[in-house]
Symmetry: C2
Subunit: 496 residues, 2 copies
């Protein structure tokens, strides 16, 4: 049995290495690759993906997992070994459903689609992007067909990012969220925030980000921050974490974009050493992962205690812009609710409305009830309905997000789920760390960081998303009420 476990671990380590290598290729593609390297890069990624998939779905892996059942049964449920066997079996059964050739085509189409998106988005040229999108959608449809027992064709896509969750469950949460958010936005009064637009030299934004990042709890020499088109975070071990961000010289959005990715990065950095190079070295779901990026971006990064420490520094950094702005006005401005065009720039309150739009469109695309060539128009009409804003061009509309270019359908809902979950966990954090506000006001973020590492990040994928949530909060249910209460309180306090 020990030998079987070792064999399984070796196989998973090899697959993890291949996936991590693909991660490096992906990071490089988005951060550093010369544009004309895209074609060769797509081939490399397809090859790595194919080899990793083939190595995983082999019958031998299934035999190993069967032979390891007795060991799994005697070990504690949340031991590394039992979890490894259990989670790997679940992954294996799902992976076997997908033919390798389809997987390879999806990988290749994703790499080519991404390159096309960078280019067509810059030119706001949806027509030229359309064929790549069509290829990705066609492949997703074939992918969905591998899971015919699903309650909805959208569920298999969702399940890739939010294991165990159904389309119906998401619809239920969003059914509460949508109207409630619309009401909160309607009630929100304008807040003076014009000082957040102006001149913010990028080198100073970069230096400020570096100063903040060193206080979050990362060990030295384990991370880096680079600029990119569409910010993301990836990691190739818990000691090689790559944050990216986007600087604009006329606003301060990079501050929150960086904190957002740092939240993902802290998750990756916190995964236990013993889970590295296994199938457990990630977050249980993107929703849980996103709950942490949202925690650091919003619950920390827009809070008055955080800025009690950092605002004097920020003000010194940009005296021309902020010299005459007092802390309360700054905090009010960064917490305002104000509908806009761009999801990644959206405030906390309107953000999930952007997601609900995408969730609905994705279901219609996959069901085939929405023609791809009609997408820009439908996008613009619904944006106007939901957010009340006019879309000037596709770069600020349907082409704004990277996800569809890389075949990432089913991904968007996890952002809104993350918002919701972040508040469920934050309530627990508040109870566990009664001095949190004072610590943040003193610039001490490591108590928070360590608590989250110990109680959440270190677990990796050992438990399912619902099991993880239950362990933290006492209930496996996703409950939008704490999030809505938080937003209502905030909007009220802005005008108190």
């Amino acid at each position: 049995m020990d030998k079987d476990l070792r064999t399984l671990r070796d196989r998973l380590a090899e697959i993890s290495d291949l996936n991590r290598a693909a991660g490096v290729l992906g990071w490089d593609q988005r951060v550093t690759m010369p544009p004309r390297g895209a074609e060769a890069r797509a081939e490399m990624l397809a090859t790595l993906g194919r080899i990793a998939h083939d190595a995983f779905i082999e019958p031998e892996v299934g035999f190993l997992l069967e032979r390891l059942r007795p060991l799994e049964d005697v070990l504690p449920y949340d031991s590394d070994e039992a979890a490894l066997i259990r989670v790997t079996r679940r992954d294996w059964i799902k992976s076997r459903r997908v033919p390798t050739e389809l997987r390879v085509e999806m990988t290749r189409a994703a790499a080519l689609g991404h390159a096309a998106w960078v280019d067509t988005r810059a030119r706001s040229d949806f027509a030229s992007f359309l064929p790549y999108l069509r290829t990705n959608v066609d492949l997703k449809r074939r992918y969905v067909e591998c899971f015919e027992e699903a309650d909805s064709p959208y569920t298999p896509l969702l399940d890739d990012y939010e294991p165990g969750m159904t389309t119906a469950e998401v619809s239920e949460v969003f059914g509460v969220l949508g109207p409630a958010l619309a009401e909160i936005v309607r009630d929100a009064e304008p807040v003076h925030a014009s000082f957040l637009n102006g001149s913010f030299p990028i080198d100073r934004q970069r230096a400020f980000a570096d100063r903040v990042l060193t206080t979050l709890g990362f060990e030295d020499g384990t991370w880096r921050l680079d600029p990119t088109v569409h910010p993301f975070c990836t990691s190739f071990s818990n000691r090689d974490v790559r944050l990216t961000t986007r600087y604009r010289d006329d606003d301060l959005e990079s501050v929150w974009s960086t904190l957002h990715e740092a939240g993902h990065g802290l998750y990756a950095h916190g995964i236990a050493d013993g889970l590295q190079r296994t199938s457990l070295g990630g977050a249980p779901s993107l929703g849980l992962n996103e709950s942490q990026s949202r925690t650091w971006e919003n619950l920390v990064g827009r809070s008055e205690p955080f800025w009690t420490h950092w605002y004097p520094d920020l003000r010194r950094t940009f005296p021309e812009q902020l010299g005459s702005v007092e802390l309360p006005d700054f905090v009010r401005a960064i917490n305002r609710a104000e509908p806009g065009l761009i999801r990644v720039d959206a405030d906390e309150t309107t953000y999930s409305l952007h997601i609900i739009l995408r969730f609905e469109l994705e279901q219609e695309i996959i069901q085939g009830s929405l023609k791809l060539e009609d997408l820009p128009e439908v996008w613009n009409v619904r944006t106007k309905e939901l957010l009340g804003v006019d879309v000037p061009d596709d770069a600020h509309g349907v082409l704004q997000d990277v996800h569809w270019s890389g075949g990432g359908m089913g991904y968007f809902p996890t952002y809104a789920l993350g918002n919701v979950i972040s508040l469920q966990i934050w309530q627990v954090v508040r109870d566990a760390l009664p001095d949190l506000d004072a610590q943040m006001a003193a610039g001490e973020l490591t108590p928070l960081s360590h608590w989250l590492r110990e109680n959440l990040y270190s677990l990796g994928r050992k438990l399912t998303p619902k099991e993880t949530l239950e362990r933290l909060t006492g209930s496996p249910e996703i409950d939008p009420e704490p999030y809505l209460r938080y937003l209502r309180d905030k909007v009220a306090s802005l005008h108190a």
Copy 2:
């Protein structure tokens, strides 16, 4: 037969993708990776190397190659297909000699050794580097044992970089080179060059490098230039070429370091599209590859015609340093022969003396006649003998080069061979492009670049190093005379 060829091509494409992916991982490791990512990176590289090696040495590849012999025999010798079958067979026979486990250990030790070198070199701490070096050397000895028929234990190492060349052949060339170079250096008179040391702001060096690089013949969007500790060039296709360089704010060495790597880059960029993702998509040998980095660094980059065009720009870029220096004085200074400590900073004349030192030490290390712990002392004594300079510490001595940290023994001689070959090819170039000096003086470098691409770079590895040299120069022999004549003429002209 067509099917066999397709199967072979598919297999080679997969292996090429794995090797290219490892190349991306290696570039990232040297340019961007956070230091503590080294351990995981070593595992990834080992895994990719193992899979690529296993996929290549399979008996099935041998059977394919046997079945393709009749096709090879009817095709022209230098057709892509005949070359593919012939060269792959040679590679396959050599690769089969090396057990996969040894290959994997070498890859892993190389990645760990490199990380240790970066660290220990910074601290000039040879003692801490020694265990990594020992591991690499032990592995090299085991590697050499796989080739027991070699004329010398050093030849299998050399053959990895300079296929078909024996230690005896190199010794013969170096036997002519060593004394002749020593004599040229002895006769060289001091040249006024103090203006080359001073204040050269790095951002301006970087901008100058960018201006020069855009004129060399690279297509747009196919390359990038990044700073690193030890400059190198790598590529992941002919349209994803990565140059690196090293800037110091007190000299201009980055100019020639950049041109050097650009020479390698132009080679990679020029390899024919039809050879991509095969075993032919590289240079026939490092010596030939190096001949081109030397061509662009020295034969172009230290020539009076080149600087006739570029010196006014350089002077405008650094007016404080160069404002009162005239072109002839600048050209004299950058062509002076002056022994120094650091190989990569060495002038053209003394450079090969650094190589001869390393060639001798490597042979003694592999034979076991030189104990590794004695290496720093021996290094320092021989440096004094050969170059007349005192080594102040190991960072400027035995730890200065990256190669041994990554197990790159047998590599150094190719640098001196490159110097020699560059002049053999340059004579042909001069005949083919009678207006070359006038073109360079007008800033037109693409005629040279295109000629080299068409006549050398595009061939890839289709021919052996000797066949390639013969096709270009009419003779397969490596002949040091043109190189020595060039250096003698240069030294004489400096004092004319």
